[in-house]
């Protein structure tokens, strides 16, 4: 039913071992995990907070939490990267609440390029270097706009799904369906292009 183990799974197993070493106080493992995760996690923080200074602060706090809570990571319940993403997103949401800034509610099409932020590494050139990322962007383009919007709001805005329903002025059940279908379709499109 699902794809066989891939390099992603091997990578996840390595990351899980790093987290186990971090839980034991291994600073070298922490540095290694930072090298692997800091760029995508910082990119999430920039995307959510729209401010490099705040994103730096959030990333610092997220890695401090990762260090202190590494012992609570359970590889049976989530992948290491998803766990780190959850820590980072929660830290960003705390930051938004603390500064009383409203979560950003907008669709990906409006938000992946932000004139207020310095240029990121070129997404196109990144995509060209990375076939998986290119396929994912193609898969994203095939998603119906409501699904893509609901999915990205759930991932990057800091809004809960009832708040997303309110923002999009849609029934809660509809928004949950969009999120589910969006994620499943993205997975299936990605898997089919990968195979």
């Amino acid at each position: 039913m699902f794809a066989p183990p891939t390099t992603l799974d091997v990578r996840a197993a390595e990351d899980a071992r790093l987290i186990a070493r971090i839980a034991a106080g291994d600073r070298a493992a922490f540095q290694e995990l930072y090298a692997r995760y800091s760029k995508p996690l910082f990119s999430i923080a920039v995307r959510m907070l729209r401010d490099l200074g705040a994103a730096e602060e959030a990333l610092q706090d997220a890695f401090l939490k990762l260090w202190h809570h590494a012992g609570s990571f359970d590889p049976d319940k989530s992948r290491p990267f998803t766990w780190a993403v959850t820590l980072t997103r929660r830290t960003c949401i705390d930051h938004l609440r603390k500064t009383r800034r409203l979560p950003v509610a907008e669709s990906l099409s409006e938000s992946d390029t932000d004139p207020d932020l310095p240029a990121a590494e070129s997404t196109r050139s990144s995509a060209e270097r990375n076939d998986d990322t290119a396929r994912l962007r193609d898969a994203l383009a095939t998603l119906p706009e409501p699904q893509r919007c609901a999915l990205d709001l759930a991932l990057f805005s800091g809004l809960t799904h009832p708040q997303i329903a309110e923002t999009l002025r849609q029934p809660l059940g509809t928004v949950k369906t969009w999120i589910r279908r969006g994620l499943l379709q993205l997975r299936d499109t990605f898997n089919s292009t990968a195979s």
């Binding site: 039913m1 699902f2 794809a3 600073r27 922490f30 800091s38 760029k39 995508p40 910082f42 990119s43 995307r47 401010d51 490099l52 200074g53 730096e56 602060e57 990333l59 610092q60 401090l64 202190h68 359970d74 049976d76 319940k77 989530s78 992948r79 998803t82 959850t86 997103r89 929660r90 603390k98 500064t99 009383r100 992946d112 004139p115 207020d116 932020l117 310095p118 990121a120 590494e121 997404t123 990144s126 998986d132 990322t133 962007r137 994203l140 999915l151 759930a154 991932l155 809960t160 799904h161 949950k176 369906t177 999120i179 589910r180 994620l183 499943l184 993205l186 997975r187 990605f190 898997n191």
Partner: protein, 279 residues
């Protein structure tokens, strides 16, 4: 109606479930291999979605800043308080009430005595007006000088919002001849504050405005963070690491323009934009 398991799985990987539902679902994921495989496949999809974002590398010096904070003592590293002594016997009413009443009276008397001896927690907020030439410091009292950090934050935030929406309520602030000005609200007890930027010069593309708090007694500049890029007007929260915050005494503020390309500064290096240059 029970939601489809795919819906729960999607909300789980997006961290959109309520804590109790999340915990229950995590238990199922750990027990049910089929469900675990579904969740893994969605997590991988999410991972790819995140890698498809425009990638911003963090500053080169960030890891060393994080590691320096790892070395700081934390709540977790403090020894736990001694456990309360268990009552050895179940006392009768007369044996228990009199000693307890005496203890309460003695405790209350001790509390009031010590409370009078203890230096009061500062009940003021500093308002520091910044213009290109000088700073103006005003102290205003907090109506309810709570010691609790959260309660003080709420009061500070209320003041900041009030002054931001009704600038006429602000106590004395400098009049800036060139139009560049800002003011800071700072609670010396909690080391939290707000910087209200009313007007700043246009920010060059290669610069980032950086806020510093300056201990006026020692001249030491303390990093209070970067201001949002390309923002000329806004109200922003900042919080200092208590370990590095000034213990007491007057404080000042400074805004400098720092090079984006350089590692995050540990002291002001760029051109002062607002406030008094401590160097």
């Amino acid at each position: 109606m029970t939601p489809p398991v795919e819906e729960l799985a999607a909300l789980y990987v997006l961290d959109q479930l309520e804590p109790a539902d999340r915990q229950a679902f995590a238990g199922r994921v750990a027990r049910e291999p089929g469900l675990a495989a579904l969740v893994r496949s969605l997590e991988i999809t999410l991972e790819q979605r995140i890698h498809a974002l425009p990638q911003h590398p963090p500053p080169a010096a960030l890891l060393s800043r994080i590691e320096s904070r790892l070395d700081a003592p934390t709540e977790r590293s403090r020894p736990p308080p001694p456990a309360a002594a268990a009552f050895p016997i179940r006392p009768t009413f007369t044996r228990w009430v009199l000693p307890a009443a005496a203890a309460v009276v003695l405790g209350a008397a001790t509390f009031f005595f010590l409370d009078r001896q203890r230096p009061p927690s500062p009940s003021v907020v500093l308002i520091v007006g910044l213009d290109p030439q000088r700073n103006t410091v005003t102290k205003i009292p907090l109506q309810n000088p709570a010691r609790d950090t959260d309660a003080r934050f709420v009061q500070l935030a209320s003041l900041a919002e009030r002054f931001w929406t009704r600038p006429d309520d602000l106590p004395r602030v400098p009049t800036a001849p060139a139009g560049s000005r800002a003011y800071a609200l700072f609670d010396p007890t909690t080391h939290q504050g707000f910087i209200a930027v009313q007007q700043l010069p246009n920010q060059p593309a290669d610069k980032r405005y950086h806020l510093w708090l300056v201990d006026s007694e020692t001249g030491r500049a303390i990093d209070a963070g970067s201001l949002p890029s390309a923002t000329a007007r806004g109200l922003y929260f900042f919080s200092l690491d208590p370990a590095g915050a000034p213990a007491s005494g007057p404080v000042n503020f400074l805004i400098t323009a720092e090079d984006i390309a350089s590692p995050p500064p540990t002291r002001p290096r760029g051109e002062p934009i607002l406030g008094r240059n401590p160097i």
